[in-house]
Symmetry: C2
Subunit: 350 residues, 2 copies
DNA sequence: CTGAAAGCGCTTACAG
DNA sequence: CTGAAAGCGCTTACAG
């Protein structure tokens, strides 16, 4: 029934050891027998028994994780890590070894340094979150040269050699945000699109969210009635934001909804609460604590989660399935865009 | 480092075979040595190697699935099944054997019959979706007597012996529906709560959804302004529903939102479309095809998914983790209440 | 370049 | 009631 190495060996007139050498491509086999064995392997549709393989094998699967580190103020990057470890403990018995290479997301040099360390660690696979575009490309190129498979999470660099991308489609998430505001907003009103401290974040991400948001309204029947007003705030400080918002409200009447294109939505929420403008629909990103606070008290209406935990989880499972199970991964694993409001929040706080 | 059977055997002065007999509780061991071995097992914190166990063992894990069958008109129950099979193929190498016992959800006698068949199959575990309350209790009691672990999905019978419940919290989903309608509805309006053909569905489920919905408004600041109007429709036929809705609209002005407590929301959508009342906020349940159609053309605003696929998936993983991995399952595994609108729909159509 | 043997940690008859 | 041996399917040194 089941084809074993022994069967292949018998058929090829060689020993199991030789078949093993061929399967794992570790040389020391004459070209002739190698070709013969490969032929039989295919002919008989050989599928390795992963359990037996793991049991017999000594060395673990070494996975390097190259993502920004988290700080008390920014817990976002803690989530992918715990997703990765959760996947690990589910795949408990399969000898997986995770090594963290965490970099300062605001220091390019640190990324370059840590990326170098990943390469000298010589992992079996890399999970990386790109923040610096060109530097990540360089790193991925070097991975490719060394034959180390890599997978990108959170933001897609679209490197042709990557195993897979695990993350959200930013444009779609902008469209979802638009529809949420659309439900609450009647015709003849203005909607603010606020980008805060863009340079600190992944730039392209945010641009695509904004694009998606605009795209929605362009195709909407309300496109005549609703005016979209962009507002770009260079700094993350509250006094600065307060001033800018005050000016904007003085200048424009009938602002009925605000879309904040990143996790800094709590700053806008703070302003709306202080100025008793809670009725304005407010939508933003990420389940970080200050946002959750304003979601619970009703100032923020909806949050869209990037599901960083799930990203980490899926990334590790993908590495495992590809390298251990010989399953071909799908090149893009889009995380669903979940809509979080006060009443369903509890189900998303993992 | 790792404690093996051999280590236990050495320490206890017995053979590996005897330790195995103790671990699997299959008798033929004197009380004295059994107790000694058990003591050492605990002392050394023995954890079996599942890979070695599965590799050496011949017999598979037999899982019986007792749920309603699906029909061309009602595909809902196809989803848990494919969730179960997806989990199986992910746990590919672990010899899991799923046997389907599908019953006619409208014939109590059929449930009883199929339940009997499950018991004579003697599975290692049962995954069951309760429709008939008392009959399911009886069945679970018999499982318990036979020492067969069972897990309930979709609706919670709360049997004290159950391994776990995998499903949604209906009351919470009602609250979520309420909040969604709340976003779109201004003060001084009426909201319809429509229950269609309740007896055909799981009754308690639907009552709890309605309870949750009411609960939300009672605690809301708008509780004075918003009037909730219940409408119970005994039959599922469109002419009947049309007549009832027409009457209701004649009787009540300012109906701004409708919550349909089950998957029959497409019937109400049809009516709203025919009578050009698309502006009314409409929220209901389940991603079945007629509902998706009205979600896409904007008549239905939001759908709440019960995530039947995920229910099946998680149920099987739970069985596996408990029986093969010796992990204690959490007694309740609440599925998150996902909010689906047109713009994020594509991410939920598995 | 190739094969025979031992081993991974557990289970399964079988003999006593 | 108990133990010794063989086996699950693969990998790992080692000898040649």
């Amino acid at each position: 029934m089941k084809v074993r190495i022994k069967d292949i060996a018998n058929r090829a007139g060689v020993s199991a050891g030789t078949v093993d050498r061929v399967i794992h491509n570790r040389g020391e086999v004459s070209d002739k027998t190698r070709k013969r064995v490969i032929g039989i392997l295919k002919e008989l549709h050989y599928e390795p028994d992963i359990l037996a393989r793991t049991l017999a094998s000594r060395n673990p699967l070494k996975v390097a994780v190259l993502i920004p580190f988290h700080t008390p103020e920014n817990w976002f990057w803690k989530k992918p890590l715990s997703g990765i470890y959760d996947a690990c403990s589910e795949l408990d018995h399969f000898k997986i070894e995770v090594r963290e290479f965490l970099y300062d997301q605001f220091r390019k040099q640190d990324f370059i340094e840590k990326a170098g360390k990943v390469l000298s660690y010589i992992p079996d696979a890399v999970i990386a979150a790109p923040v610096y575009f060109q530097e990540t490309i360089d790193f991925f190129n070097r991975c490719e040269k060394s034959g180390i498979p890599f997978i990108s999470v959170n933001d897609n660099i679209n490197h042709p050699g990557q195993l897979s991308y695990v993350g959200q489609d930013s444009r779609s998430s902008g469209r979802v945000a638009a529809q949420l505001i659309d439900f609450a907003v009647r015709g003849d009103s203005r909607i603010l699109v606020v980008s805060i401290a863009m340079d600190k974040d992944n730039y392209s991400h945010i641009l695509r969210r904004e694009e998606g948001f605009r795209e929605y309204w362009e195709n909407s029947s309300k496109s005549q009635d609703v005016e979209i007003i962009p507002l770009s705030l260079a700094k993350d400080s509250y006094p600065y934001i307060k001033r800018a918002l005050t000016e904007t409200f003085q200048r424009y009447a009938r602002i009925a909804g605000i879309f904040v294109t990143n996790s800094r939505v709590y700053q806008v929420a703070k302003y709306l609460q202080h100025t008793s403008r809670q009725k304005i629909s407010l939508v933003g990103y990420d389940l970080i604590n200050p946002n959750i606070k304003y979601l619970n008290n009703g100032v923020i209406d909806f949050l869209i989660s990037q599901k960083p935990h799930e990203q980490g989880y899926k990334a590790l499972v993908t590495v495992f399935n590809t390298l251990k199970m010989n399953k071909e991964p799908s090149p893009e694993q889009l995380i669903s865009i979940d809509i979080i409001c006060r009443e369903n929040l509890c189900f998303y706080q993992v």
